[in-house]
Each structure stands twice: as C-alpha cells, then as structure tokens.
Symmetry: D2
Subunit: 293 residues, 4 copies
C-alpha cells in the first residue's frame, strides 16, 4: 500500500514538487502558512490540512520545503505545530535549504520522538522542479532513503546518498561554493574583457559555445547582458552560504582561497543594498570596484 504523504510549504518550488508527488499517485495532504496556494493542486485530488499538526497526523511521510530555519521552527514547534504528531514509524524529510549545523540540531530535537529524520535539499530550481528532474541530496539512514526511492523519483531524476543526516546540507553547501565561484568568475571575466575592449555579446558567445558552457551560465546570461538582476537565488542567501563555508573550513582545516575572495565581494554587494537581487548581481559589485571608464 502507498504511504500517505504530507507536504508543507507551497512556494514556487514546493507547488511543483507536490504536484509531481500527486501525479505519481501518492495520497497527498498539503499545508501552506499563507492560504490559497493549494488551489492549483486541487485538480490532482490533494487534501488540504488545517494546520501542520493536522497534516502530521494524516501522513506517514512528512516533507517540508520552506524558506529557512525560522519557517521550519514555526511549522514544527509553533502553534499547532507538526512536531507533536511526529512519532515512531513516521518519517520527516526536510528539503528546505538550511545549514548542516541547523540540520543536525533538528535531527537531535526530533530524535526523542522516534521519527526517522532525513535531510534532502535539492540542486535545481523552478524548471527542474516542474519537470521532476531535480537532484535530491539525501542524508540520513541509508535503508530508509532507499525505501523512499519511488517518492524521491516522483520529484527528481536522481537521489544522491550523501551520508548521515546533515550531509545532504553539506553537499548543498559544497555545490553552492562552486556555484558562487563560477558566477563570480563569469562576472569577473566579462568585466575584465569589457575593460579590455571586448563586446559582451562576443564574450558570451564564446563562453556559451565552448567547454565552459553550462546550464547555470545560460540561465544568467540575460541578467549579465541587461545589468538587471531579478532574484532567482538572492545574493544575500549566497553570501550567507559562503560565510558558512568559511566558518566550516576554519574549523576543519580545508583551505578556501576562492571562498574568502567571494566573501569579500558578495558581502560588499549586500552592504551596497543589492542583497535582494540575484547572486549574478555580483557583476554590479565588480563594476563598483572598477576604474571609471
């Protein structure tokens, strides 16, 4: 018999992921703090819960996909929170992006209840969420993660096992460090070339058609051309992730020369009030640091 799934957090990503779970035939209950977000899921026959707690009681596997630690805290331990409904035999999966440290604390707080705890942030944004082609970065007990394959496969193209709970988030941080280095690198190379007399169009044509071309560069190319940066992944979130990388590297002795350079540049952008723009606005920071032409 199919397990009953509960899904909390119907933002841009969450709605798409929940829709894919429902399409795959799982009995699904949903909850969102702001009401009305469940309307477009009605056609899939999903049930709406009146509270996180009600959702928890109606589900075997509870998924959270929210904006961060505060929202998670509220859903679990706020009024009518889900925490009380979590008990042995149930599984709680956090797919929201939070730090490995917060994830481990979460795991410890939930341990007493006997619930199985899995952390499973994703790589990929809106489009892969809709297409069900996310990469799922899973940390927690390996057998339970394997047993949940059908559920994960409804949302993503593959599940990558990262280790114990917290390691999914660690993988996400590793990936975001690389993402930061690549986007800053792109912005820095383009700005360097511009000062050397190259045209933006020609440079992007070279990058996007050669061995350095990747989906993320294609996604950001228009922002860089137009110098407008509507947030997909806000600069301030990336800045926080890089600070996490620097702190963790300080503790475990990994050298992070790029991360330290990124920290300076990204933090400067936040200080210039560009933190709510997309991370590609690092390009603005480099312009700010350039000689007047």
């Amino acid at each position: 018999m199919k397990q009953r799934i509960g899904f909390m957090g119907l933002g841009i990503m969450g709605v798409a992921m929940a829709a894919n779970i429902a399409r795959a035939g799982f009995p699904l209950t949903v909850y969102n703090r702001t009401p009305g977000r469940d309307l477009e899921l009605k056609k899939f026959g999903v049930t709406s819960a009146a509270s996180p707690r009600a959702l928890g009681e109606a589900s075997d596997v509870i998924i959270a996909m929210v904006t961060g630690p505060e929202a998670l805290e509220h859903l679990l331990w706020g009024p009518d929170g889900a925490a009380e409904s979590l008990k042995a035999g149930k599984t709680f999966i956090n797919m929201s992006s939070v730090s490995p440290m917060f994830t481990r604390e979460l795991g410890e707080r939930l341990a007493a209840s006997g619930v199985v705890f899995i952390d499973a942030p994703v790589s990929g944004s809106k489009k892969p969420a809709e297409d069900g082609t996310l990469l799922i970065l899973a940390g927690g007990p390996e057998a339970e993660i394997a047993a949940l394959s059908p559920l994960f496969e409804a949302m993503g193209k593959s599940v990558i096992y990262c280790g114990e709970a917290g390691q999914g988030s660690m993988m996400k941080m590793m990936n975001n460090l690389l993402l930061g280095a690549m986007l800053e690198g792109l912005a820095e190379a383009l700005n360097f070339g511009k000062h050397g007399g190259l045209s933006m169009d020609a440079m992007l044509e070279v990058v996007l058609n050669g061995p350095l071309s990747c989906p993320i560069f294609k996604m950001k190319a228009d922002m860089l051309k137009t110098n407008e940066f509507p947030a997909n992944f806000p600069l301030k979130h990336m800045t926080k992730d890089i600070k996490f990388v620097v702190d963790t590297a300080y503790a475990n002795g990994a050298p992070v020369p790029a991360a330290l350079a990124l920290l300076q540049v990204f933090r400067l952008g936040v200080g210039q009030q560009w933190g709510d723009l997309d991370v590609a606005a690092v390009s603005r920071v480099l312009q700010f640091l350039s000689d007047a032409e």
Copy 2:
C-alpha cells in the same frame, strides 16, 4: 579558385586542424620543425615544405599553430623564416595562444610587409580540433576575416569576431580566467566537501548532473578522482595567463579578486614543481594547504 593554404605547427591540435583543412578541399602545404609529423596527412594529398620560407612562398594564406612566442619568432624570423615570403596580397593567421601584447607587437612587425595579419586563437582542445568544432576567436580586419569563413569553418563550428588584431588573444585570456576560476572552484569545493565527510563520487555525481555541469568538468573528473594529472593544459601555462590577467587588470582598472586568489594558488603549485601537470593539479595545491587528516 580556392586559395592555397600553408599550415605551420603539426602538434596535437595542428595535425587535426590541418587534416580538416585538407578534407575541406583546400590545396594545403604543411611544415613542422620536428620532421615526420606530416606523415598522417599524406593521405589527404598535402604537400610538405622544406622550410617556413618555402611554405610561405607556396601559399596565399599562412597559418601558425605553435607552442608560443619563441616558436613563432623562430618560424618567422629564424633561418629560412617565413617572414621574408610574406607580402602584400597574402594573409598571416596566428592561431597559437600568445598574449594580446605579443600579438600586437607581431602585427606591428608584420605591418611593413603589407601582409594582412589576423590573430585567431581557439577555444577547445584535441577532440573539438578533430571534430572541426573549435571556437575560433578572431581579431583583425573584419572584411578579411569574413572572406576567410570557408577556411575557418573547415576547422571550427563558429568564428567569433573579437575586434582588431590582438583582441582574439584578449578573448582567449578572458576565457582562461574563467577556466581557471572554474577549475580552482571545483577543486576547492571538492576538497572542502571531502573535509566535511562527503565522498568524491557523490560530489562529482551532483556537480556533473546539475546546472553547473559543463564539458570541462567532465574532462577533468577522472584526474580529480585519481589524483593523477597528465597535462592537457599545463598548470604553468595557466599560471602565466593569470599573471597576464592580473597585469592587464592593474593597467586598465578592472578588479580581479578571483584572479589574485588564483595567482597565489597556481603559483604555489608551480613552486611545488607541479607546473608540468595539468591545471587540474590545483587540487594538489589545496591538499598541500589542508590540515593533515
């Protein structure tokens, strides 16, 4: 009537590019400093010249694809050099990777002869050279470059016009800055993740299947897994390119925080005698800087 092409420099890249020119039906003469490299081109009916000068005399368009400034100097102004055979009505195309500065000097020295000078380094390595899918980064007179489209299209999938002579090399430097940032970023992220308890295989699976995946990462993944770095693009060449970027940025006022971090890390690798390994050996530098585990 097809123009007569001369091709000097039959290294790994050069042989493949010359073969594609011959296959496209251009009458082709070749020359290589070390003899014997022309054997595998015989089947295409190419002619071998006894000297750069002889090649220059037998050709309308002369291409050089050699290891750097010294080799170019030798081919052009060494004994029986090609320079004397270059004159008005002929075209000289340098496809070797050299600095924009050297390129501009080259252009000035050739100007007196009346030859048309084009700089056209490429993005892409062995495989794209064989498949004729290189990106050609062309600087020089735009009309002449356009008129040579059939020749360039024999070697590459597209010709990107970069500006006057020297700007092809500038484009190459811009691209190599990004390449350096991406490879150091990958090595740094992987080393960071390893210290955080993640497995190399899982990390590469995430990177190579998500939005950061690109051909260059796929090419280098095995090196990073095995910690062996047979040179494709040697670390010492990348280090020199990054020094060029830093010097140019100092002059023209572009901020290059990543390039400065790269300069430290790459130069340290050269100082540790890893300069002849592939640039991906930056991974060794990061291990060298890590706490003992």
Copy 3:
C-alpha cells in the same frame, strides 16, 4: 579608606600586576587555581583565599586575570565560585582577554547580582606588567572607572576609556588586528627580501632603525633571526582573534582585506601544528609557502 582588592589568576601577567597593587598599598587577597603561585607575593603581605568565593567575600573590588572564558566560567560559577559573593556595592573587573561577545554575556549574567561590571583587558605583556606600564582598555560605567583610577594606575601607565562593558575587549581586538597585520607584514617583507638576496641582519637593521621601528618588532627580532618561536602570544590565540575580527566585520560591514589574508596564513600555521608557537611563527608559514631555494 582604601578598598579591599581581590585578585584571581596568578600567571606571568597576574603575579606582576598583583605585586604592583600590593606595592601601591592596597589591602590585597589573592587566589590561584594551581596552588603555590602566591609565594612570591607573601613579602608584600598579601592574604591568600581558599576559594574564589572566599576571595569574593573578603573583597570590595574583584579582579580576574585568567587564560580565557573557561577559566572565568570556572572561577565564577564553578564549585565555591566567586559569583555568589558578588553583590550590590562590589565591583568585578575582568582583565583577561576574551571576546566582546563573551564579555557582554558575562555582564548580563552578573547584572542580576547588582555588582558593577567592568571589562579591562590590557595592551602590553610581561615587562610592562612588571613595570606597571600597561595600557588598560576599560569598558563599563565611566564614573566607576574614574573612581578606580588609583587602582588602575598601580598596574598601568594609563587607563583608556573605551565605552560600555565589552568595548574594552573590542579595543583589544582592534589592537590585535593591527598587531597581526604588522607581524605578518614583517615576516612577509623579510621573507620577500631574503628571496631577493638581502641578508636578515641588514633588513632588521633597516626596519629597527627607521620610521617603522616599534617595541613589538624589537621583541620579535630574535625569533625571526633564529627561526625559533617560544610562545609569548601563541599563534593559535591570534588566529582565534582574527577569526573574531572577520566574523564581526561580516556582521557590521567593515571591510577587512588584511584580516582575511591573515586568517588564511595564520590558520594554515595552526593546521601545520605551529599553533602553540609564538605568533611570529607566521614566518614559518611563509617559508612553507615559498619556492624551494
């Protein structure tokens, strides 16, 4: 009538400071966790307390000069701790080096008792402590600090008022950032000069006789000459202070390019097991990063 002073922590600094308090004629009670350290103070007629609590009960003004947060925690809230004896009308002065954050927490925990809390770390090491020429960096209620002038003047040549409690420690961090930049700068310049063919003796002669000469460089010159680094101020403590600076700067938006460079270099030294050497062992780190000669 003179206030009764209690002094906890008879390390190298503490013994010298306590001796100066006694010499100035203050009635003095002392305590040290490891017994026997009070022997050399006997000649000044000081009383030894059996516990921090006993010391607190016998004193109006209680001073702590210990190795860090753990030791303070133990003295105050450990078995027979001094905290219980602190009450309205008494004053507690922490002269140990701890972070501003820890200092503010300490102040909050002590607030309920009604005790006046002052933080007063010092600038200067063994010699100024013995000579009574320390700089005292005082944070807390200004009137109380002024009223304690005779006590502070027994230990130091001047009291610098830094603001509310916590700001004394902030001043100490500011000073240690500069100290770190100067010592790394000295080691880097000397190593650079050595690679450029200059002799260590000649370089130190230039530095120590010109406008850059300062007491701290004179103190460290022998270490740099002999490449031996018996700890005066251990590298690992400096590393922790620089991490504090980086974290604070991240929060309040001060750019710290030097601190970020220092963090890399100092942390590398700790990772190479040189953390217990003097901070001047940053010189070893620079040798480690140098090309083999």
Copy 4:
C-alpha cells in the same frame, strides 16, 4: 684631500641632503632642472653648475636625488647630460627611489664608462633629511661604499650595506612592503574599531602608547583623524611599489599574501582618483568599501 661632490636634484629631500654635505665641509657643486632651488644653499658656499654635464665635469662623486626614472634619464642622457662626463675614477650614486630592475639597467649602461656605480636610496623623509639622520641603503662595490663613509655620514645616521648595485633598491622595496602593510593595517583596524563603536581618539591613544607605536604612525595620525591626506608619500607611488613586489615575488617564489591584498586596496584608491593623496588615504578606500552606517 676631500673629494669634490656634485649633487643633482634639489627637491625637499635634496636641498636638505646637499646642505648637510656642504656643512660637513665637502666642496659641493649643485644642479637642479628648475632654477632657483639653489638659493638657500648659497650661504654654504656651494657652486651652481649650468648643466648636468658641467656638474659631472667639476665633480669626483656625482649624486642624483630626483623623482624617478624619467628624471634620471634626462639628467644623464638628455641634452648636456651628465653621462658624457662620467668616466673611470669617478663615482655615480643614485639616491632616488627607483626599482631594482631599473637600477640594474642603469648600472649596465654606465658600466662601459668605467665609472663606479652605487645605488643608495634612503629610509626617512623630510625631517631626518634635515637632521642628517636618514638610513642609507647602499648597493654596489663594498670597498667603495666604505670609502665614502664620511660623505654618507654627512647625510645619514648609518649606511646599511645591502649587496651589489640594485640591492639598495631591493631593500627599499622590502621596507615599502612593510610600510604598506602597516599603514593599511592601521587604517583597517581603525575603520574596524569605528564600526564596532570605538572612538578614533581612544584607538589612536591605545596604538600610539603601546608596543605597536612607531614614528610612521605618529606622522600619519593627524591625517587619519581629520580624513585629509596631503601627500607626503603619494598613494600612487606606493601602489607602483607594491606592484613591483608582486611581480618580483611571482618571479622568485616568495609568497606575498599581504602584498596581494594591498595591491587590490591601493589600486582601487588610484582608480577612485586618490593616487595623488598620501598613502594614508588607504583609509578612504576602506570607508568606500564599508557598509553605509
């Protein structure tokens, strides 16, 4: 018999140095490109030459103290230049600040004439020049430098032998690297402290009365307090020196993490049009990079 001295370059430093030579009783001829600068030397009975060449002919030892390579070039090889008058048996001492590289080239160009070449830049500015307490950083043949002690001692408090010609300039670069690190460190620490709520006066009191206090900090304190930076040593010159350090370190394998951080910050100041201000204007750069308060 006293040697006849010729002194070219009567700027702020040069006038003071020439006056001290004359006071010491050496027969002195002077020359300055802009006329009138010799007036205040008349009282010492110095002779004015009509041209560098005339000065060279009238002197056994010729000293140059000018603004840089261009001025030296002009004095030596410009119209009526001194070069033609330099020959075996005479000595040419360059005390102007130029790079070791330029110094070595100068030495090579002068070698053919048989003149003895010494490079001898100084540490110290206007006041020590007037007081005759400069440090003289001498490179060249050791015996000749020793024989010139009376001359050098007229100008400075000591002569430090640095090695062959060029090494005096190398010593100056080593010293300027340290100077740059100290001034940026001071500006960074003060800006950090200001963002942490400390007052500028209190911070300077701590720095200037503790073990980090040095003459250079005392000289710059007012600039930092008032945020006005009349040039003593212009930021653009320091920036050029740090670029020299980075280039040299790249070549000889010395790690220069601080120099790379300084290069970014100083170059940014030049790009913001603060290059003609004093190097202490690095404080402005740090303000520019700070969060708005």
